[in-house]
């Protein structure tokens, strides 16, 4: 059932996000090509202005595109579960976990595609300018220094933790929005306002808990740093990974409970 739901969700969200993923690099390519074309004008300021407008326009398209993708994904959750489409989705013989899981996985896939599209757009825009070569040089320098400072096992552990932290952060960010929408649905009126207020409150709560965890971890690190700076670094990043995982689990179970036990489709 999850596979079938995922197929449906990928298609539903894809019709809005796929065009964005195509337009962003295409626009970057056009901007780059236009940037390479030198038109001599009697007014050099105009040439500079045109160049600036091109870059600004490109930046706006990329920024707008990435924001639009997030908005589409959030709207998919709202409309799919609490809008008229809910009358179709909630009648499917699937559990709340499957419905939620499919929506979350599809959102992550499309977020990843949007990220790849943006990276490609930036690569196209900066092609031939030397920026990427400089960036690779810096990354190589950081890696070399890290390899010199840390033991191989510590470096590997740190890398694994960082690789876990990136997707977990993406998932927890999305689930926090979903949880806020589900909380907003508990209100009889002004559900959207309720969702926004819930999002603010949830973020505050998460930040407070993170601050408390940091305080505890900080004291452990302080004790460890004298014995092993490497271990303290691993523990520090590991704490963030665990926190992100706990956020994901908490938000997921709350959303699932809301859909399974507290659904009130108007």
């Amino acid at each position: 059932m999850l596979t079938k739901l995922l197929k449906y969700e990928l298609k539903a969200a894809g019709r809005q996000i796929l065009p964005l993923c195509v337009v962003m690099p295409a626009w970057s390519a056009i901007a780059r090509l236009l940037g390479l074309v030198h038109v001599s004008l009697p007014w050099p300021q105009v040439e500079q202005l045109l160049g600036g407008l091109l870059v600004t326009g490109c930046a706006l398209v990329l920024f707008g595109g990435s924001c639009a993708a997030v908005v589409f994904l959030v709207m998919r959750y709202y409309r799919g579960f609490y809008g008229d489409e809910g009358y179709f989705v909630h009648l499917l013989p699937a559990s709340a976990s499957e419905l939620l899981g499919a929506k979350l996985l599809a959102a992550l896939v499309w977020q990843l595609c949007t990220g790849i599209s943006m990276t490609l757009s930036l690569a196209i825009l900066s092609a031939g300018t030397g920026i990427w070569e400089g960036l690779w040089e810096v990354l190589g320098f950081v890696w070399k220094n890290a390899a010199d400072l840390l033991a191989p096992i510590s470096l590997t552990s740190l890398l694994v933790e960082l690789l876990l932290l990136i997707p977990l952060s993406a998932v927890s960010g999305l689930l926090l929005i979903y949880a806020a929408i589900s909380l907003g649905q508990r209100m009889r009126e002004n559900r959207i306002l309720g969702a926004i207020a819930a999002y603010i409150v949830l973020n505050l709560a998460v930040s407070t808990v993170a601050g408390a965890v940091n305080a505890v971890v900080g004291s452990i690190l302080f004790a460890l740093s004298d014995f092993s700076p490497e271990l303290s670094l691993i523990v520090s990043v590991g704490a963030y990974v665990l926190l992100a995982a706990a956020e994901c689990a908490g938000a997921f179970f709350f959303c699932r409970w809301s859909l399974a036990k507290k659904l009130e489709l108007a």
């Binding site: 079938k4 809910g86 009648l91 499917l92 013989p93 699937a94 659904l263 489709l265």
Partner: protein, 232 residues
Amino acid sequence: MEPILECSGLYKNYGLRRALNGVELTLYPGRIVGLLGPNGSGKTTLIKLAAGLLQPTAGEVLIAGTMPGVQTKAMVSYLPDRTGLPGWMCARELIALMEEFYLDFDAAAAREMLARLQVPEGAKMKSLSKGTQEKVQLILTMSRRARLYLLDEPIGGVDPAARDYILDTILSNYRREATVLISTHLIADLERIVDQVVLMQDGRVRLCAEAAEIRAESGRSIDAYFREVYRC
């Protein structure tokens, strides 16, 4: 015989407003049941609770002895009182989707009904009129070989010619083991097909009786009886 739908002490509140006030109802397989009542009597709320789209405030509703959930959704076919089909899909895609999700879905029957009602298979839902969307939704609902059909105002938004076809479709899909619960205001149209009538008022079941019994005892049609009972 095991009941297909059981409501025991069923209450449902929307904030301070009580929509269902202790509903007691038992329906058995193989009946076409008309759920009648004035606006605000609780018909849609009752149907939504049975479909699993709402949670009761108190009491319980059971479908074939099971609380509404994944298992009951596989045996219940629900037609809502609004169009919930994804606007970006066409009828052909919806049939394929229904076939994938529901083991009891009859795609050939769905296509035949679409052709009979002259609904274009390739047109997106959002490009169709409201009435046509409702027809598609009804076709998809009735193309399932479900044990319980919950139809909330199935003929309210369609033209009179289509109404007769829809009622004939309901009759032709009716099997001895299936139950059809139809909520409607258009009693005169429904009268010829219902076996049993449930009259609701103020969130309670006021009367649950055989249609023939009501006609025999009151000496009038269900429609006339309804107008008499619910006279303003």
